[in-house]
Assembly symmetry: C2
Homo-oligomer: 362 residues x 2
Amino acid sequence: MVQLEGMGKRTKPSTNLSPDQPISLRTLGEYLNLSPATISLVLNNAPGVRSIPQETRDRVKAAAAKFDYRPSFYARSLRKRQTFTVGVLVPELSDTYATQVMAGAEEYLIEEGYFYLTASHRRKPDLIEEYPRLLMDRSVEGFILIDTILEKSLNLPVVAVAGHRKIEGVTNVVLDQRRAAELALRHLYQLGHRKIAFMRGGSHSSDADDRWQCLMAVARELKLTVPEELCVQLQLRVSTPELGYEPTNELLQRGVDFTALVCYNDISAIGAIRALMDQGLSVPLDVSVVGFDDIQGAAFHNPSLTTIRQPLPQMGKVAARILLQRIRGQATFQDLVPIHPELVIRESTCPPNPRRMRSRRM
Amino acid sequence: MVQLEGMGKRTKPSTNLSPDQPISLRTLGEYLNLSPATISLVLNNAPGVRSIPQETRDRVKAAAAKFDYRPSFYARSLRKRQTFTVGVLVPELSDTYATQVMAGAEEYLIEEGYFYLTASHRRKPDLIEEYPRLLMDRSVEGFILIDTILEKSLNLPVVAVAGHRKIEGVTNVVLDQRRAAELALRHLYQLGHRKIAFMRGGSHSSDADDRWQCLMAVARELKLTVPEELCVQLQLRVSTPELGYEPTNELLQRGVDFTALVCYNDISAIGAIRALMDQGLSVPLDVSVVGFDDIQGAAFHNPSLTTIRQPLPQMGKVAARILLQRIRGQATFQDLVPIHPELVIRESTCPPNPRRMRSRRM
DNA sequence: GTAGATGAGGCAAGCGATTTTGTAATCTCC
DNA sequence: GGAGATTACAAAATCGCTTGCCTCATCTAC
């Protein structure tokens, strides 16, 4: 006899052998002649399960396995008021800085049963304001911010990578900029460079100011003079090497001699190298270039980049760990979590060439 | 008088002036002396709202604004059986190929009120199997697959970018490989190259076989002979330039002369160029190199890469659009959505150098 | 004057879980 | 043998929202 499904409103339990549709606690209960409550207890191994005999537990588990019962995540979240979901805010998905951090965070989150929703704001202020709200509407339990500066404090735990200290309640996982500056400058200094040019990050980038202060402080200690003509500031809000291209041209046009260039990051360093080469200069023979980050590709660029490595995946992982601790109320609030940088010496730096000819193409 | 909150089980409505806690339809209803149902109707502008006088509607809207009422996404999803969430599966987040596609998809999804959960499987078969299930447990409504080969068909709409045709029910948004192969080979041919080496993608990569067939077909048409010694296959399952480094060394060791190299993609092309240069060869003077994809960085590599551009963000957007159409049941199922490639000529190709000396460093 | 239409909104039944409370029946112990 | 504990569950209350069905009252039409 053919039995049509879903005929009556509430006919017989109908022992619906779930063809493929997900099965609910109630249908499972009808099949087992048990109440949904009991099944829930068993499957979650909740405290009250003590009073349920082993045999029944086995029956329940067997049936759950047989019908491949999977609890409705949304129903459960509604009841438990937990979503096991966090929000991740990044400037740009195609920026490997951000995605390497995300990769580290993701691994930890998934291990802990969390997933994340991503939104990339392309540094537009309205989106930086809107997206957190959209994500909060979806009941994320917290945020990971990557290279993102928030204007308003959110009502949830927030951990920022490459963050800043403006907003209350945000834990900052951030490179030890002081140490980073020392690594970069001492390296150049030891190679013999004295005329060093600097590229300063745009104010929209969260690491920029801090890094700048530290670089200048270390320069003073080394008794390096840093004339204003050897400093440029990045303007573009992009995450491509173009970032560093024009500023470097500008630097060259000023006609003040320098043998090394400290870039804001690897992306801009790549653009800078391009600009130098387009002007007929050799890197590193004419100008040594140092970057920050050690993004993927830094090692395979030509010349490969000497850089201050940030352990990005690890920073992501640390951020995720701290965020979950804060969500669970396990951690006392920390304002700052410093990460140790590492100097990676490759091809883009060498001692200054004493008799180099700065022959520029017209 | 101080009124303690949450004192009694169900005391007076208590007109709780939500200090910051989210407010529910019920509390809002108590405040307005209306039932939750009415408020829901008004706020959603549901059909039944016709019978509600404008004045009441205004009152409701004003109160909602005043208390900043935001519906519980989870409650609503549970009820409507829609989550406005899709899953995105990628091999690796730090792979810019994937993230550029994601960037395009994300923009479209958010516009349409969707968000997405990402999982990166690092090409591990067990994760490729596990993650879709995890995401389905979270009630995603469909999947976008990026460079990911599924073994089992999922019970949901799936759109694959750089996909394959093995699995039923998957829409493939994929480069017109035939046209791509023509663009690459004709370009080299017209420059005068006749001895061309080829790099074939690993079998785990979803574009690999198709691209290979097309390249060989076009080579035949151009009457190019492709000796086996001029073909290498990628082995590594990574998304860094190392992918192409060793294979290129192997190619060189075979000692068979070639003037151009067609790489599987830009990532491997970068590795290949590195290998060539490490052997003292010049690119493009000794060997011209062509990549595929035009990833970020291809333009800023040194030498900049001649490549077959895939409009990755657009492909992501197309994938997202088709997925939503399928979710909404608007689209008739399409097996294949071809995307047009574009030849981008940069520095890594030039005519073969007739009197070049292949002097290799030992 | 009364049937039927319309207006204004309440009621309640879900969605699919979790969790507290309740209740028979059996067991234990003195 | 009866109080109290334990066993084995069921019932019911939420979680916060949507939606079909009702109920009044008033208004219109004949």
